[in-house]
Each structure stands twice: as structure tokens, then as C-alpha cells.
């Protein structure tokens, strides 16, 4: 009896029809992502190619007379807004995830997790509307206070002639709105990973006399590190590519590179710039916009690649 079942078990799985169909489907799904990516890349390259070297009038002349000068402030703005969003969202989401997985009683944890997940379902246009109609005006007094008291730091310097953006549509506002949009993504992934930390590790740490925070530091975080980075990367991807909310909230300066968080004009992002200028664009201008899309595509790739590299190196160091 046992012999026959063992025999059946050793049969190679791929011989079964169901398995073969499934592995074929899985392969097709994997390949289709590659095909889609290649397709998008090819589109950006072919349609954007002429946008890389156009007459100065297609860029932002006289401030930017060639593609590099046109795209650099946009790259800067994209990264800057995303960095602001992550600086706010990452500690907050990890904190929320920890509360849900380790601190809060289950009765409380489940509804909190549910509400955070709901945030992810709110469309970005709604965040944009809320941003310009409610949030940005409400932040003006806070910005004024920051400018008055921290104005000696260039970040909070405000406008040249004094004062801050009178309607609050600054890159800080955009960053905070982005942070709220990124929050549910990072929270739900890190929460799942924290919850998967082996019980034994945690109990061992507690048995050695660790406090709960020490247990989290020495048992949960090392175990979850790569998952946390993945979560942050997904959040970063959303922040880099977010379009409507930024386009609506930000008071975008033309070809402007500034770290100023509170001024009238801020550097805008690639995605928001495409959304704002595509509609009325002539063919030449549209080619330029598509070329900036290509830059965003490459930028996202590079950022992801670098992050993976850093994680891989850190992992090697800890295991050694």
C-alpha cells in the first residue's frame, strides 16, 4: 500500500495535464509583463526620439534651450517630491504596521488595517481635489509659522520678498498628499511581513529578557528587512509616477530647480508636466513630452535597481 503511493509521488509533476497547463499559464503571465514593458519602452523610444533634439522653441526657451536643460528640473522635482513623500510615509507606515501586527489588541488591529487598506482605493483625482480645496488652504498658517520660525533654513525660506505661498500649493503639500497615497501600500505589505516573523524567534528574544521593542528590533526587523525594502520600492514607484494629484496640487514653476518647500513656485514632476501640457500640445511638443516619459521610465528602473543592489549588499553583510 505505502509502496504504491510512494511510487505515484515520485512521478514527475510536469507529466500531469493540470500541472502542464498551469505552468504554461504562469509562464505566459510572466512573459506578458515583459512584452508589455518592452512595448511601452519601444513606444517611448520611437515616439520620443525626435523630442530629444528639437528646436529650442519646443522646450522652455529661453530658460531651457535643449532637452537636458528641459528635463533636468523635472527629474529633480520628481525625485524631490517622492523623497518628501517617503520621508513622511515610511516611518509612519512602519509604525502603523507594527501597531497592527504587534501592539494593538486584535479587536482594534483588524479595523485599523481595514481602514488603511481603504485609503488605497481612493482615486488620485479625489486626493488632488481634496488637496487644492481643503488641505492646501488649511496648511497656509502652518507654513507661515514654519517660515517665521525656521526661515533661516533655506528649505523654509518662502518667497524672496517674504511670505509663503498664499494658497498653500507647495511641493511640501504635494509631498504630504503623496505620502498619504503611498501610506497604505507600504503599510499593508510590511504588516503582512511583520506578522510572518517566526513565533520562535520572537519568543526566544522575549525569553532572553528583551523588551517588546528590543524583540522587534532584533527579531522582527532583520527578518523583514528585504520585504520592507520591497514595500518602500512599491511606494516609491507610486510616488514617482503619480500624476493627477501632483498636477492639481502643485503650483508648478517652469524649468525651476529649488529645494524651497514653501515658495510660490516649485519644481514640478515629469508625470504632472506631461498631464498638464499634453492636451494643447502640437506634434513637436508632444514628442518632447514623450521623451520626458522615457526619462521617467529609465529613472524608475535605475532607482529600483539601485535599491535592490543596496538590499542585496546589506543582506550579505548581515548573514556573514
Amino acid at each position: 500500500m505505502t509502496a504504491t503511493t510512494a511510487e505515484k509521488m515520485t512521478e514527475t509533476p510536469s507529466n500531469r495535464l493540470g500541472d502542464r497547463i498551469f505552468s504554461g499559464l504562469a509562464l505566459a503571465a510572466g512573459l506578458s509583463i515583459l512584452v508589455a514593458l518592452t512595448g511601452v519602452f519601444a513606444f517611448l523610444l520611437i515616439r520620443g526620439w525626435q523630442g530629444l533634439s528639437q528646436d529650442a522653441s519646443f522646450y522652455d526657451a529661453p530658460r531651457a534651450n535643449d532637452f537636458l536643460h528641459y528635463v533636468w528640473p523635472l527629474v529633480f522635482g520628481t525625485v524631490y517630491a517622492a523623497v518628501i513623500a517617503l520621508v513622511i510615509a515610511v516611518p509612519l507606515s512602519i509604525g502603523i504596521a507594527l501597531v497592527i501586527s504587534h501592539y494593538a489588541p486584535r479587536r482594534l488591529a483588524t479595523p485599523i488595517a481595514y481602514v488603511i487598506d481603504l485609503l488605497a482605493a481612493v482615486p488620485s483625482v479625489v486626493f488632488g481635489l481634496w488637496g487644492i480645496l481643503v488641505f492646501a488652504p488649511a496648511m497656509v498658517p502652518t507654513y507661515g509659522w514654519l517660515d517665521d520660525h525656521l526661515g533661516f533654513i533655506p528649505l523654509f525660506a518662502g518667497n524672496e520678498g517674504g511670505g509663503v505661498n498664499p494658497v498653500g500649493r507647495t511641493i511640501l503639500t504635494a509631498g504630504i498628499v503623496l505620502a498619504i497615497m503611498v501610506l497604505p501600500i507600504i503599510t499593508s505589505i510590511t504588516r503582512e511581513i511583520f506578522a510572518q516573523t517566526p513565533r520562535l524567534h520572537q519568543e526566544a528574544a522575549l525569553a532572553l529578557g528583551a523588551t517588546r521593542w528590543e524583540m522587534i528590533r532584533y527579531a522582527v526587523f532583520p527578518y523583514a528587512r528585504s520585504g520592507m525594502v520591497s514595500a518602500v520600492m512599491l511606494g516609491l514607484g507610486r510616488a514617482l509616477g503619480e500624476t493627477m494629484a501632483v498636477a492639481m496640487v502643485l503650483s508648478a514653476g517652469k524649468s525651476l530647480v529649488t529645494f524651497n518647500l514653501l515658495g510660490n513656485e516649485s519644481s514640478t514632476t515629469i508625470a504632472a508636466n506631461i498631464a498638464s501640457n499634453y492636451k494643447e500640445g502640437t506634434p513637436g511638443k508632444v514628442a518632447v513630452l514623450i521623451a520626458t516619459g522615457l526619462v521617467l521610465f529609465v529613472l524608475t528602473f535605475v532607482v529600483n535597481f539601485l535599491a535592490r543592489l543596496i538590499v542585496a549588499r546589506a543582506e550579505r553583510n548581515t548573514t556573514r
Partner: protein
């Protein structure tokens, strides 16, 4: 993708064709305009679908026109207008994707757009003004409800040269107003738009203080930028000491400035805006089917309001399909006739004057099957 890039390669041939056609039809301007009401009788026989795309400024008006036209044709005709923006509308028209297009700036040949459109039609396109809307300069200054401004002052405000509401330049024009000591925050569109183009065109031509070219993108650094008309309106509403420009119908309860025309200060009015189209000169070198005008921003005509946006409808003279030709002709005839009042109700636009409408109707009258 490859097809479109190939389509663009026809500059010499198209330019030649254009030159020939310009000389060919120089004098076919018969003045026998047909009033719209005479055509409404046979409209009910029309059926089918009409597709257009382009100017987002026309969106509301197109909605009113589509509804009105559907009513006249007993619901047998569906008009779809996609407000993708003027640039995209022009491209879609030239590529044959839509039957007609709406555009805030008339077709030009700087980037071969006019040639491409003419090639699509196989002859000169029809381009008629259909939507005229005054652009209001509006502001939010505590205690100030009425404000007189001239083009020079507006230019300097938006250029960041005049920084305070109690500046002598503004005070000089407004002896009665109590102008506060408050910083001016000019608000402009962050997205490219026909409104910005007309506004900067006005400043460039009517004032001596504006050194930038007319462009879809606002040229000056500084000031606030906001996305879309509603974004500008919201920014001016939420701010203090803010001033912006937008389609007059969208300004709502905010205070609107009167601008100097001749010796008077005029607030935007439907009549004043429409009158400017009549005064303006036709663009040189255009065939008789093209009513593109360069708006006379310097007009001193009493009551005129030269800060206007004129948006065009573009169609072919001949369509392969007879039913399609009838549809386009019927729709444009309605738009230029009864549709003007409908758009004024719904979108707050300024109805064309009779002279302009009649001239446009005479052109539309010639739409036929190939």
C-alpha cells in the same frame, strides 16, 4: 507608430499644393447667407453619428450643441465631442480620426499641421469661428469690488513688476477705490492652454510692457501656477491679494476688473467680445473657406472687449460619404445659427454677430459629398 511618423514626411509636396490652391480659389465669396432656420426643416431626416474632438474650452458649448442638434434631428443623430485639447484635436482631424475638430488657435503650417489637415480633406479645410468667449481678469482683494486696469498695468502685474495693490500705477486708474497695502499674487495656468495664449497675445499687442511672445504656456517665472480654469479660480478664491485670468463664464462671484479700451473701461460683455471678431483682420493668405482672424487687441471701438478667446470649428469641404457630409453641414449650420444662443445659455459664450455668422454659414453651406 511608424505610420504616423511616415505621414509627417510631406512638407514640400503639401506646401506646393497649398500654394496652388491659394491662387485657385481667391474669389468665391458670395454674400448670399442662408439663415439657419430655413435648414432646420430637413434636419429630421438625418441619422447617424458625428465625431469631433479638440478644444476643451468648447466642451460646455459642444455639450449644448450636441443636445440641441439631437433634439432637432429627433434623436436620430449622436454627436460625440471629445475635449482632448486643441492640439490633439488638430492632430486627430488631420489623421482622419474625427469628422470635425474644435481648436482655440487656427491651423498653422509651422509644424506642417495645416498641410496635413488639407491633405486629409484633399483640398482646403473649412475653418470658421464658432465659440467666442471673453477672458476675465479677476481678483480677490479685501474691500475692493471694482477695479479699472489698462493693458500696461495688467502686464506689469503679471510680469511681477508691480508688487503691491497700493502701487501708484493702480491707484492712478482707481481714484475711488480703497487699495490695501497687500502683496499682489498673480495666478496663471500651469497647463498649456488657449486661454493663456490669448491672454499673453493681448498683453503683447495692447501694452508696451510685455516682452514675451504669445504662447500656450505662461512665459513668466514667479507668481502662482494652477492647473486648469477651475484651478485658477480656486487659487484666486483661496488666496488674498490674488489676481488671475480665466474664461469669464467660470469666474463665479469673484470681482472682475474693467480693462481700458480707448478712453473707457469695459467689463467683459458678450456683445463687446463678439464685436471684436468683426473688427479683426483675417489672417493673410488664407483661402475663402478659412475665416481665421488675428484678433485686433488694440481696438478702441466703444464697448469692445478685446481680451477674448476665439475658438474655431474645422471641417472638410467634401466628405466621401454623402450622409456624413449632410451631418457635418447640418451640425455646423445649427452651431453657427441657433446654436449660438444655446451655447450662450449653457456655456456663457458670446454669440457671433450676424455679419460673422452669415459669412461662416455661407462657407458651411458648401459642404457636400465628393
Amino acid at each position: 507608430m511608424i505610420a504616423t511618423s511616415a505621414r509627417r514626411v510631406l512638407p514640400a509636396v503639401a506646401a506646393l499644393a497649398l500654394g496652388v490652391s491659394l491662387t485657385a480659389c481667391g474669389s468665391s465669396d458670395d454674400k448670399s447667407a442662408t439663415p439657419s432656420s430655413s435648414d432646420t426643416a430637413n434636419l429630421s431626416s438625418l441619422t447617424g453619428e458625428l465625431n469631433g474632438a479638440g478644444s476643451s474650452a468648447q466642451e460646455k458649448a459642444q455639450g449644448a450643441w450636441a443636445a440641441g442638434f439631437q433634439g432637432l434631428t429627433d434623436g436620430n443623430v449622436t454627436v460625440n465631442y471629445n475635449p482632448v485639447g486643441s492640439g490633439d484635436g488638430r492632430t486627430q482631424f488631420a489623421q482622419g480620426g474625427v469628422d470635425f475638430a474644435g481648436t482655440d488657435s487656427y491651423f498653422k503650417d509651422d509644424e506642417g499641421e495645416l498641410s496635413a489637415a488639407n491633405k486629409r480633406c484633399g483640398e482646403d479645410i473649412i475653418e470658421v469661428p464658432a465659440y467666442v468667449s471673453p477672458i476675465a481678469v479677476f481678483f480677490n482683494v479685501p474691500g475692493v469690488k471694482e477695479l479699472n486696469l489698462d493693458a500696461d498695468t495688467i502686464a506689469q502685474i503679471f510680469d511681477g513688476k508691480i508688487k503691491n495693490w497700493n502701487a501708484p500705477e493702480i491707484a492712478k486708474l482707481n481714484a475711488d477705490a480703497k487699495l490695501p497695502d497687500l502683496a499682489i499674487t498673480p495666478v496663471h495656468r500651469s497647463d498649456d492652454s488657449g486661454t493663456t495664449k490669448n491672454f499673453t497675445d493681448y498683453l503683447g499687442k495692447a501694452s508696451g510692457s510685455w516682452s514675451y511672445d504669445a504662447a500656450d504656456a505662461f512665459p513668466v517665472k514667479g507668481g502662482l501656477a494652477a492647473e486648469g480654469t477651475s484651478g485658477v479660480v480656486a487659487a484666486v478664491t483661496n488666496g488674498k491679494g490674488t489676481i488671475g485670468y480665466a474664461d469669464e463664464s467660470q469666474v463665479g462671484d469673484l470681482a472682475v476688473a474693467a480693462i481700458k479700451v480707448g478712453e473707457d473701461f469695459n467689463k467683459p460683455t458678450a456683445e463687446g467680445a463678439a464685436a471684436v471678431v468683426d473688427i479683426s483682420k483675417a489672417v493673410e493668405g488664407r483661402p475663402a473657406t478659412d475665416m481665421a482672424v488675428d484678433i485686433d487687441r488694440k481696438t478702441t471701438e466703444a464697448g469692445a472687449y478685446p481680451l477674448v478667446l476665439v475658438s474655431y470649428l474645422v471641417a472638410c469641404q467634401h466628405y466621401d460619404d454623402a450622409a456624413k457630409a449632410d451631418l457635418v453641414k447640418g451640425y455646423l449650420t445649427y452651431v453657427l445659427g441657433d446654436g449660438q444662443a444655446a451655447a450662450a445659455d449653457e456655456a456663457g459664450s458670446s454669440p457671433l454677430t450676424k455679419a460673422t455668422a452669415d459669412k461662416a454659414l455661407a462657407i458651411v453651406e458648401k459642404i457636400a459629398a465628393k
